[in-house]
Amino acid sequence: MLVKALSLAVVPLVSVPLVYLFIRVAEVDLGVVVTEVLSPRTGQLVLNTAALVVAVTVTALAVGVTQAYVVVRTSVPLRRLLTILATVPLAVPSYVAAYGWLGVVPGFNGFFPAWLVLSVATAPLVFLTASAALARTSRSADDVAQSISTSRVRRHLLVTWPTIRSSVWSSGLLVALYVIADFGAVSLLRYDTFTRAIFNAYRSSFDRSLAAILGLVVVVLTVALVVLYRRALRGEQSGPVNVVRPSPVVLRAGGWPHAAVMSLGAVVGAGVPFVSVSAWAVVGTSTANVERLVEATLNSVMYGLSAATLAVALGIVIVVATLRYRFTPATVAESVSWLIHALPALVVALSFTFVGIRLVPDLYQTHVFVVLGLVVLFLPNAISAIEPALRAVPPSWHELAQSLGMRPSTEFARVTLPVITPGLLAGWALVVLVIVRELPLTLLLRPNGVDTLATRLWTETSAGAFAAAAPYAVTLVALAGIPAWLVSRGLDPQRKMVVS
């Protein structure tokens, strides 16, 4: 069976790099590993990362849930506008936002800037999850609570909180993983977390075992976080889905103060980078090297198109093999790729460099290798677009087609494919655009002298060349804005589904 054979081939592609990272560390003298892991420097990195993770997660949860509550459950005016404002930061990759701030506030370095930029970047994730959950609040349960208690707090504890609790916690996990994984913003803002330390260790020393050891520590921490989270939420029930929404809570003073505070937050958080990027763009465009910009854009788009196409093709194979044939290796491949999706892209890239250097030196630092890395990283995005599309095709059609004498391949081409094509195309387009904004993996794996929009922006900003970086920032925001817009309309391309 072609499908089974192909899905079997995906397993090494997604799992070998991680396995190799373990081997790489195992080769190092155990004493060295222990010394490195227990060194004050590693301790400092754990503290720095943990402080940032906790601060950003708490802030994003507080901001996102409040925004969602105000927009979904109250009578606040300008609801549409507030929703857009709350999701606007999604259009700005965190490293572009960092660039924007650095462009107006010189010396914007350290914990506070990293906290601000990442909180603004992640609050929309919480907002989207929480508002979707809040919209599922059952009116009849809300009614019953009203007939039971006069206290609004008690009513929310009875109905609202249980309805949104698991979604809020899962978006919190999403934010925490995002912060651990973030490389672009923390490196530009010079705050030492694991990702920045790994990158520096990789770049600066001849011996790459330090980078490998730190990478492994991050893998262990991430897996521990996900496992802990699943433990904590075991036995969580999801509530009934009710189409009737409860009546909105009427706000004092017509809700205008709430609207004002929310808009002000959005304007400061997302507005500064926007203004800064635009201002530098005015300076930058006059001095821009158009040839280089075009080249970087073409590279970005080429990587996006080829990696997305391959990811969607492999995604179809995996989903068909799991859903139609219940083929275990395909299920394994899917689980492993979700795990990899939860890990920092930088660590995945690191593991790919080890594989590249040792096993396939001919492929290492070629376009093909970058594309393979991107495919592994974004396979889950493709799968999450394909799976619902394929589930929409009733299995009975499949059986019916066979009873009409079609072979499975004919059936797929004539029955299934036409039905899932719109879903596939939408998923494919989103993966293209998500890949365009990818930074760490491309930065590590790209062939010498090849630049994409993201790497170019990163290099120029690191060197303090704000004007030169501006055209790249503008192009990136324009391209990245498309998936952000789709996400805010409820189509989520880069949702990390570690949670369910």
């Binding site: 059952s138 009849s140 349960a141 009614d143 019953v144 009203q146 007939s147 039971i148 208690s149 006069t150 008690r154 009875l158 109905v159 249980p162 609790r165 029930q237 999801s238 509530g239 009934p240 009710n242 009546s247």
Partner: protein, 344 residues
């Protein structure tokens, strides 16, 4: 004011369209009232106004002499002493059965609360399920918990919003009987909204028939069934065959003979008589002009479709004596009928 629940001139308009129009009715203490009507006539809105989830545009609602809703006064839902059982049960999904039932008993000491919960668990036959979560219960069990939760705080009025609609027939009958018994035992005044005429007829002390946001008839189940206010009510409350007729000399002259009107009629009026299927008498008659063209056997009785020269009628005949397919008949009407004059 002698009634326990008194609703006067209640009007609700939303977005320009009127949902409830000048609704008035009264329920005596301990009585079971059903508000009966097809879906979308404003029954649920009426219930939500009574519970205090919605504010009417005008009109007054009083419970036990206290005005709970009027132009001047507004009492919060939780202070009205009203329990509600929504259609979907709306159990708190994160709470066990016992905690759901006790949700409205926050003011009681934990010992008293446990006692009351145990009492309701036993009455509603939920023994052994106390520590289950709602997701682990069947639909019927969920509704039992919802009823127990509403009744636990001994409310002055219980509102039932089609709570039996989603259950299958057998469960529904069983749960109805249990709930009716519990309400009678606790002598709680109850208002049920439903679109199910059998439910309303079998459970209620009185029925208010609703149409287009207004109440068009109130009375005991027997009264309403025997004397529907108009043809629509007659058709809604059960099967009826509509036969054109004309009043002459105090009788209704129809193709099926001269019938005695139940209600007051005026000579010279023309209109329609409504005949219940059980009021036909089917006399086997080889010379008859009617013929049996259909037969549905139900055991206790048979629904017979009869084609007369003028129309097709459905009649109910008792099992063993029902005419066979193809048999020729003469059709008679037994007893008085309701006559509705056509407005001129």
């Amino acid at each position: 004011m002698t009634a326990f629940v008194e609703v006067t001139n209640l009007t609700v308009a939303k977005g320009g369209s009127s949902i409830l129009h000048d609704v008035s009715f009264a329920v005596n203490g301990g009585e079971f009232l059903s508000v009966l009507g097809p879906s979308g006539v404003g029954k649920t809105t009426l219930l939500r106004c009574l519970a205090g989830f919605e504010r009417p545009d005008s009109g007054t609602i009083a419970i036990d002499g206290d005005v709970v809703s009027s132009d001047e006064r507004w009492v919060e839902p939780a202070r009205r002493g009203v329990g509600i059982v929504p259609q979907d049960g709306a159990l708190f999904t994160h709470m066990t059965v016992a905690r759901n039932i006790g949700a409205g008993l926050a003011d009681l000491s934990s010992a008293l609360r446990a006692k009351r919960v145990a009492e309701l668990v036993s009455i509603m036959r939920l023994g052994g399920l106390e520590n289950r979560l709602p997701a682990e219960l069947s639909g019927g069990q969920q509704q039992r918990v919802a009823v127990a939760r509403a009744i636990a705080p001994s409310p002055r009025v219980v509102l039932l919003d089609e709570p039996f609609a989603a259950l299958d027939t057998e469960l529904r009958t069983e749960l109805r009987t249990d709930v009716r018994e519990l309400l009678r035992k606790e002598s709680i005044t109850t208002i049920l909204v439903t679109h199910d005429q059998d439910e309303a007829l079998s459970l209620s002390d009185s029925i208010a028939v609703m149409r287009d946001g207004a109440i068009i008839q109130t009375g005991t189940p027997a009264d309403i069934y025997a004397q529907p206010a108009d043809i629509d009510v007659a058709l809604f409350l059960g099967d009826a065959v509509i036969i054109p007729g004309r009043v002459s000399g105090g009788k209704v002259e129809t193709e099926l003979g001269s019938l005695t009107p139940l209600n007051r009629v005026r000579d010279g009026d023309s209109g329609f008589a409504a005949v219940r299927p059980e009021n036909f008498y089917l006399q086997p008659d080889p010379a008859g002009r009617a013929i049996v063209t259909g037969r549905q056997f139900f055991g206790h009785d048979v629904l017979v479709t009869v084609t007369t020269p003028d129309r097709t009628i459905t009649a109910r005949a008792s099992g063993p004596l029902a005419p066979e397919m193809g048999m020729k008949l003469t059709v008679w009407v037994r007893g008085p009928v309701n006559f509705y004059a056509r407005p001129d």
